[in-house]
């Protein structure tokens, strides 16, 4: 380092570079913002996620923890450089694609860079070596197993298939850019000169506040602007459910949770880098808060919202038959109370984006699960006609429900309009955790009766859900839970009630399963106790009670086809019998380590509950013969870009590689609805099928060809081969429309549902998907530690559009379920970073055997059902049931930390 000038020079990916960093500047910042190496990702700025891993003199380090100056004189390698320069890295990238080891891709640079360092030293590593090498990089999507397979060079899971139609396990169509460092996420798209926004947040769970001299402060600090509630041009409220639009963009006078936004500063990057929120002119007057359900429901508790007495946001209710009579009749009745914690989505990409004003229109580029809902919110918050707003989704580094709500979008749009210049924002990990939504903590009491014949006789569920300070998707949770709390079983007499309770906590919202995973913990745990009491095998008990075609659900809905739960459970039989026998053998040897095997099941209705949720797919053929698919379903790593394209290509009858994909830019792509409720494969998939069919019909009609004809897209025109007859549609002869399309289609699908009556009876969903998991684990009874070492997961997907992506969803969902069961607990003020809030690492995730069941659904495209949330529902209860199998102890509070399990074992006399 040249001490005099303070310049730092080093070799970056083979090129000498020289920079002048600030004292304290991280190498990651310098690489991304001074040197344009945005293939280096930042997930936490604290060493906890490893996304920022680079090689310094060949050794993997977190670039977010290295002072930029420390790189002086060294060689620094990033993913893009490795892939460009090293065959080993390119080969690894191909292996990642072949395994589907990159889902959203935000962790991929860190994973691949770490793996390259390993493979340089150990060309054929064993599993332990891979885990040790990658243990410092977190992935929230994949469940790690496919990453291990890729690094070890196992045979690829993907197939080469010229057509790539449904059922073909093809690689992701957008996979390459995730493994070569070119994928652009929310923080990767801003121009270099963009101003930076930083939000000022409440340090208190509940406090009154007064803002001081903001203009003076802005001048003193050299800021371009300070934003507060007064700068919100339209309505200072947003939300997701009509009637529950209650969350301010900036709090006004009172903050209702720790981390709530009260203001934002906007300035040049170096100015904002030096900004310390402690200096911000605001005075706080802390008020009494209520952070738990009992506190919030206690008489005299501070009320969060006028008109919501007792802090009850709303409730959901389903009743079928006569539950009390059935319980009375039952030979055995058991009751249990179960509690779960706040769970953080912990996607590795914190919310980020940029905005600019172009020709009087505001453009917001950000990571999202729901571009059109973002547009809806901006329309009201900005008080601007929607034609003047454009939302362009960037690649999204994981969402899992939380990126359904807006986060950065209003700040970006307001700041861009006010500053008149491009602005950017990337949440810090802590503010992402403090301010965005969570999984609802639940306090659930379940009573279930059964006859001696093993048949369920009455199930009653009462659940309170901590919905935090604002509604978000809380009403959806309250409605979904009663519909699902029976599990996928024949329960004739049923009553379920769920209520959302406001507290001074971050808003609870959507998180894979909308409350159903919590309810499954209660119901599936109690099922095991019931089966044991009745001396019936736990799996057979479930099979005996499994819902079937023609049997009404608890909402009185009768499916004549497509109920696949029994097939899922039966698929687990061989593993259940073998693993139980093995566990008995292992446990007979005695010792402090006990093995357990657990099963649990789940179901999940795909799409909105009894509400319209249409998707539209548009496609066109340009004059040059290029087929373009406008695919608006946000691909947050789950693979919508691939699956929707496969369905469209199948319907049209062309190879999937013929498609050019256009994403969810609201200016050019119609609304495919939100990526939630496991609806994209089902709902948008159907729109894609209809669009493909419509285009096929139009082409065949123009060629006057029969339904079996083959369509071949060529630059010269569309060739239609019908038997021996070959017809060419001359595209040059057709008039292109404003977008340059000579042929175009747009089709909409909305699943048929019917409203629920006051007892929750009706048709909530057009289809359900079904799942059953088996978990094998060891409990170290002296330490209370739990080590799952195998999962078998049976999923009824109706029709496996892409089996590789299905496995990816299942493994990733199981990893999240495992985290929820064993380690994850968000506590405001205490576990607000990825150091204290623990999610599974590569060493925590055992192999998963995925059993795909195809019980076609009448409404699904080619019979396909949704899957995204099903994958997580049975996991936590299967783990709890395995723990109980191993130790006899029924855990009733999640997560089952070593400390809690040991305490329970002790109480049980262990």
């Amino acid at each position: 380092m040249d001490k005099r000038l303070g310049m730092t020079s080093f070799r970056l990916n083979g090129t000498e570079v020289e920079i002048l960093p600030r004292p304290g500047e991280r190498l990651s910042e310098a690489l991304r913002d001074r040197l344009g190496a945005r293939d280096v990702k930042v997930g936490c700025n604290a060493g906890d996620c490893g996304a920022c891993t680079v090689l310094v003199d060949g050794a993997p380090v977190c670039s977010c923890l290295m002072p930029a100056q420390q790189a002086a004189g060294k060689t620094v390698e990033t993913l893009a450089g490795l892939v460009a320069g090293e065959p080993l890295a390119r080969e690894l990238g191909r292996r990642f694609e072949g395994q589907g080891a990159a889902q959203c891709g935000i962790c991929t640079p860190g994973m691949m860079v770490s793996a390259v360092a390993l493979l340089r030293e150990v060309p054929e590593p064993d599993e332990r070596q891979v885990m040790d090498a990658l243990g410092g990089v977190l992935c929230r999507c994949t469940g790690y197993r496919k990453i291990i397979d890729a690094v070890m060079g196992h045979a690829p899971g993907a197939v080469v298939d010229a057509q790539g139609h449904t059922r073909a396990a093809i690689e992701k169509l957008d996979g390459r850019r995730k493994v070569d460092g070119t994928e652009q996420f929310g923080d990767d798209v801003a121009p270099a000169d963009a101003l930076v926004i930083r939000v000022v947040r409440s340090p208190h769970a509940h406090a009154r506040f007064t803002l001081g001299d903001l203009d003076g402060f802005a001048r003193a600090e050299g800021l371009d602007a300070v934003l507060t509630a007064r700068d919100v041009p339209g309505l200072n409220l947003y939300g997701t459910i009509p009637g529950f639009i209650d969350q301010p963009v900036f709090a006004e006078g009172v903050a209702r949770f720790r981390g709530e936004a009260v203001a934002a500063v906007v300035g040049a990057p170096d100015v904002v880098a030096r900004f310390d929120p402690e200096r911000f002119p605001v005075t706080w007057e802390p008020l009494e808060d209520a952070q738990t359900i009992p506190e919030a429901m206690a008489p005299g508790a501070p009320l969060l919202h006028e008109g919501r007495d007792g802090n009850v946001m709303c409730g959901g209710f389903v009743a079928h038959g006569d539950v009390e009579a059935a319980l009375e009749r039952a030979d055995v009745v058991l009751e249990g109370r179960f509690e779960t914690s706040f769970v953080e989505h912990a996607y590795i990409e914190p919310e980020a984006g940029f905005a600019q004003v172009v020709d009087g229109r505001v453009e917001v580029h950000a990571c999202t699960q729901a571009p059109v809902m973002d547009l809806d919110t901006l329309e009201t918050v900005l008080g601007m006609d929607r034609s003047r707003i454009r939302v362009v989704p960037t690649a999204t580094g994981g969402g899992f429900g939380s990126k359904l709500d807006v986060s950065v979008q209003p700040y970006l749009a307001i700041a861009a309009l006010k500053a008149g210049r491009p602005v950017r924002i990337a949440y810090e990990r802590t503010e992402s955790m403090q301010s965005t939504t969570k999984r609802h903590p639940a306090d659930m009491t379940v009573r279930i009766g059964a006859g001696r014949d093993g048949r369920i006789s009455g199930l009653r569920f009462d659940g309170l859900f901590n919905t935090g300070a604002y509604s978000s998707w809380g009403p959806t949770v309250a409605n979904r839970v009663p519909v699902h709390a029976s599990g996928p079983y024949r329960v004739a007499d049923y009553r379920a009630e769920a209520k959302g309770i406001h507290t001074h906590c971050p808003p609870s919202g959507a998180f894979r399963g909308f409350g159903v995973p919590q309810a499954a913990v209660a119901q599936e745990s109690l099922f095991d106790e019931l089966a044991d009491t009745l001396r019936i095998d736990r799996l057979e008990f479930r099979i005996l009670n499994a819902l079937e075609n023609g049997v009404p659900t608890v909402c009185g809905q009768v499916f004549e086809q497509g109920v696949g739960i029994k097939a899922c459970l039966e698929a687990l039989r061989p593993a259940w019998e073998a693993e139980r026998a093995e566990a008995a053998r292992v446990n007979a040897a005695g010792g402090p380590v006990r093995r357990g095997v657990g099963v649990a099941a789940g179901w999940y209705g795909c799409g909105n509950t009894s509400l319209p949720n249409p998707s539209t797919i548009k496609a066109g053929v340009r004059g040059d013969g290029q087929l373009v698919l406008h695919q608006g379903a946000a691909d947050i790593g789950q693979g919508a870009n691939t699956v929707i394209a496969q369905i469209f290509a199948t319907a049209l009858g062309v190879p999937v590689t013929a498609l050019e994909l256009v994403g969810g830019d609201t200016d050019v792509t119609p609304d495919a609805g939100k990526t939630s409720a496991s609806r994209q494969t089902f709902v948008t998939g159907n729109a894609a099928r209809l669009a493909g069919e419509a285009m096929r019909a139009e082409i065949l009609q123009r060629a006057n060809a029969g339904p079996e004809a083959e369509i071949v897209l060529r630059e010269a025109g569309i060739e239609v081969r019908d038997g021996d007859r070959v017809q060419v549609i001359d595209l040059a002869a057709l008039e292109p429309d404003a977008e340059g399309y000579v042929l175009r289609v747009a089709e909409t699908y909305d699943p048929p549902t019917k409203p629920l009556d006051e007892n929750g009876q009706g048709v909530p969903y057009a289809q359900f998907g079904y799942a059953a998991h088996l978990c094998v684990l060891d409990v170290d009874t002296r330490l209370g530690t739990v080590k799952p070492f195998k999962f078998v997961a049976a999923h009824d997907v109706g029709h496996a559009v892409n089996p590789l992506l299905i496995e990816g969803q299942v493994e990733g969902g199981i990893a999240q379920g495992l985290g929820m069961a064993l380690m994850e607990e968000y506590l405001p003020g205490r576990t607000e970073n990825l150091h204290d809030y623990l999610i599974p690492t590569i060493g925590d995730m055992p192999p998963v055997e995925t059993l795909i069941i195809e019980e076609p659904d009448a409404h699904g495209p080619y019979g396909a059902k949704g899957l995204g949330e099903h994958v997580l529902i049975p996991t936590a209860p299967a783990i709890l049931n395995a723990i109980r199998d191993a130790t006899g102890v029924q855990m009733q509070r999640l997560p089952v930390t070593p400390s809690r399990l040991r305490a329970a074992l002790k109480e049980a006399g262990g």
Binding site: C62, P67, G135, R274, D276, D836, P898, R902
Partner: protein, 275 residues
Amino acid sequence: MEYHAPETLGDALDILSRGGVTVVAGGTDFYPSMRPGGPRGDLLDITRVAGLRGIARQAGGWRIGAATRWSEIARADLPRAFDGLKAAARKVGGLQIQNAGTVAGNLVNASPAADGVPPLLTLGAQVEIAGPGGTRRVALEEFITGVRQVALDPGEMVVAVHMPEPPTDAAGAFCKLGSRAYLVISIAMVAVVLGRDEEGRIDHARVAVGACSPVARRLPALEAAMIGARLEELRIDPAHLAPLSPIDDVRGSGAYRLEAVSELIGRALREAAHG
């Protein structure tokens, strides 16, 4: 505000003597605890200072330079008594952290859960400190005085850690208890160094426990009780754990920690004995 990266100890001490200067080594504790707005004063990067890095055998013992990385320790060729230290090195965060984080950083940061401290206690480590008044050595027990508190005077920095030559047959081990496999702050951890005579009787015993008191502690009563005993006969009674005062926190209850420690001590000793 400036960034200094001197190459000699003399220059480093010079800069340090100006006051208001923060030492940075691997940055793995420095950055996560950095306040918003960035550092307030100058930074002193000590990773380029000659003689601060590496492991060497010296007259009467071993010297580990202050800026030695955990991954260097994990790979070093050291006597078996250091196995606990090497195991701890492999448990500090993940590989990325081990490639950056240093021994002195771990000690000066003085977290109750610092994984380096218990094994260094069992090795009888002394901390070598350089400052305006020359250099001095302090026993590790006296160096860390409390949570995030160390016996460093203004202008002083850590230069090295010194360990006496351990008994030739002694073996070390380290057991860390956490809620997940990697990147986990210890709920509790135990380091031991164990030596036995030909009859299998313990003739050298060092046991230290971390994350169960503000500063990791050795267990002198247990060590004394071990001398002359056989491993199989050993019983850990509550009095042996008297130096510990574990608290309840998000990682576990105090009662749980105490219970786990007894179990971990047994496991660590068996591992040291049987490899």
